[in-house]
Amino acid sequence: MTYPLLPVVPSLTPVNERFTGLRHLGRVLSRDWLAAFGLVLVVLVLVLAVFGKWIAPHPEEGAGLANIPNRNLAPGAAHWFGTDELGRDVLSRVIIGAGPALSVALFVVVAAATIGIVLGAIAGYRGGWFDTVIMRITEFFQSFPPLLLAMITVALLGAGPVNVGIALAIAWWPWYARIVRAEAASLRDRSFVEAARAMGVPTWRILYRHILRNSTTPILVQATVDIGTVVLWVGSLAFIGLGAQPPSPDWGLMVQEGRGVILNRWWISTFPGLAIFVTVLGFNLIGDALRDILDPRQTKR
């Protein structure tokens, strides 16, 4: 299934282009069952992240409080997802874990996008030596496996969710810088930008009004896919001991905690892993449909 590309005809009213992008989003979701399913999953996870404290049956166990008498109960009416080695309700832990998982992901994407947008927009708009330097730096970052870069950074900074966020943002910003730089370079010589320049509009305002606001669609699509991927990577780092530490309700950490007993007490690892999978799948399904809006052949990593 393919969708028409965004209009590339120069337009003097850049705001229209943004709304075309958003209208496309609505159209894509209404036509595409998989994308709509993705949206349902994402909304579900968002609701859990925001209202988890009130939804979880045992919020204090979710946060890490042990309840030894209830150790290792199989899933049943009282504990839908069973209980773990410390007697904590796995369902509550999975629900409470949605908040931290999404906030780290949001932090990483916002931080990476902010750095990338600022540097990329200036590089693309100004060109010259600044452009060369920034692009060399991004190429340098991209000549290394990003997940390994994040792992090494966390290892050196010390394990923990904050450092994981910093490390992933460091590994991620070059991709945003390159997207925005390409947009800025192509917008630079368009007539409305030239007109603004001729009228003496300050550079920062041109950058914001004409460059940034016209690059929102590709940035948003990228950010959507990236939130899912960040959740996956945060979980992976926690799984090998570089992320959140016990007793945090981190999904990756919970999978790790149940790993040794997977053949005896399958529920301890299975449900937190399922939570990661569902979250990432939701964002990826939406992102995959959104990508068609921009360019059916575009790919990253």
Binding site: M1, W33, S143, L156, G158, F239, V255, I262, L263, G273
Partner: protein
């Protein structure tokens, strides 16, 4: 072609040099003193001071850096802080197992990804296409460490078909020991005709290889599908169909050949992914490769190992990109000429 190759290699060397400097500085600026990591946190201060001097950590940082750089070329990459043995030796003895796993996973990903991608375009937008799309997006959304556990649960726990962890059964060492030839254990068992060991190794390889293949397989299926769709819209395909060539030939012979360049690109990306992905899979399956050693080293801030991994990771990434470029130039004349 030669100029292109040389330019690539030069860039790679520069990247590696900058990388050594950056990571080296990072390892020296971190709050935790490597000497404390070496002797343990409870050591008395005079022991820490002695080890600091022994490891040369009290000298100017650039002297340390150039000494390290010199060591890189003479094969002295430092000792692992955890095992106290040379890092290069630790990694070299484990690397063959990892490479065997990656090779198996990439073979599965390439075969499966191309097949699914070509099948998906038989009727775009129909049920099979949708199912393949869901499968491939599912593949790239799956946490590898979790998929590995699920496979263990199902194939080991429920069906009792396959072994859960390790590269070979323990008893094999006594009943059918493998004669090392290349140190690639599975390959050695094959060329020395040790069929019991080979069969046992294959059984151990299946689950980790599938786990590692899930992400690249999904990525490749998606990529082949969109490349195929693009090619199928072109005039020469229209002509071929007008001549009455069967769809099978049109898809598998004509279209796939022209979709090959994008397929090779995404294959290269997948290898790059597998380089890191294998760490997690190896942890889950207790695979005797570099993954467990490296993840443990990262948690323990074993900085000589971290440095070595940085270099190897960058080198492997650059090498796989380089090979992709060369293959690309071989199969696509347009790349060669420009």
């Amino acid at each position: 072609m030669l100029r292109f190759t040389l330019k690539r290699l030069l860039t790679a060397v520069v990247v590696l040099l900058i990388l050594t400097l950056v990571v080296f500085l990072m390892t020296r600026l971190i709050p935790s003193n490597p000497a404390i990591v070496y002797v343990g946190p409870k050591a008395p201060p005079e022991v820490i001071a002695r080890v600091t001097a022994e490891l040369g950590l009290d000298r100017p940082i650039f002297v340390q850096y150039f000494e390290y750089l010199g060591g890189l070329f003479t094969g002295d990459w430092g000792n692992s802080l955890s095992t106290k043995r040379p890092v290069l030796l630790e990694l070299a003895t484990r690397l063959p197992a990892t490479l065997e796993l990656i090779a198996a996973a990439m073979a599965i990903a390439a075969l499966g990804g191309v097949t699914l991608g070509v099948l998906a375009v038989r009727r775009p937008g129909r049920i099979l296409d949708g199912a393949i799309r869901f499968l491939s997006i599912g593949g790239v959304s799956m946490p590898a460490f979790w998929l590995g556990l699920l496979l263990q649960l199902f194939f080991v726990g429920n069906l009792k078909l396959l072994p859960a962890t390790g590269q070979f059964s323990n008893a094999l060492e006594y009943t059918n020991p493998i004669t090392p030839v290349t140190n690639f254990a599975l390959f050695d068992s094959l060329i020395t005709g040790n069929w019991a060991a080979f069969g046992d190794g294959l059984q151990h390889l299946i689950l980790p290889a599938i786990t590692l293949a899930a992400y690249p397989l999904g990525l490749m299926a998606r990529m082949v599908r969109s490349a195929m769709l693009e090619v199928l819209g072109q005039d020469h395909i229209f002509t071929a169909r007008a001549y009455g060539l069967p769809e099978r030939v049109v898809h598998w012979k004509l279209a796939l050949k022209n979709a090959l360049p994008s397929t090779v690109t995404v294959f290269g990306l997948s290898i790059a992914y597998a380089l890191t992905g294998t760490f997690f899979v190896e942890v889950v399956f207790n695979w005797p490769g570099i993954g467990q050693f490296i993840t443990a080293a990262m948690v323990a801030v074993d900085y000589p190992t971290i440095m070595a991994v940085t270099l190897l990771g960058a080198a492997a990434y650059l090498l796989s990109n380089f090979v992709v470029d060369v293959v690309q130039a071989k199969i696509d004349p347009r790349v060669r000429i420009s």
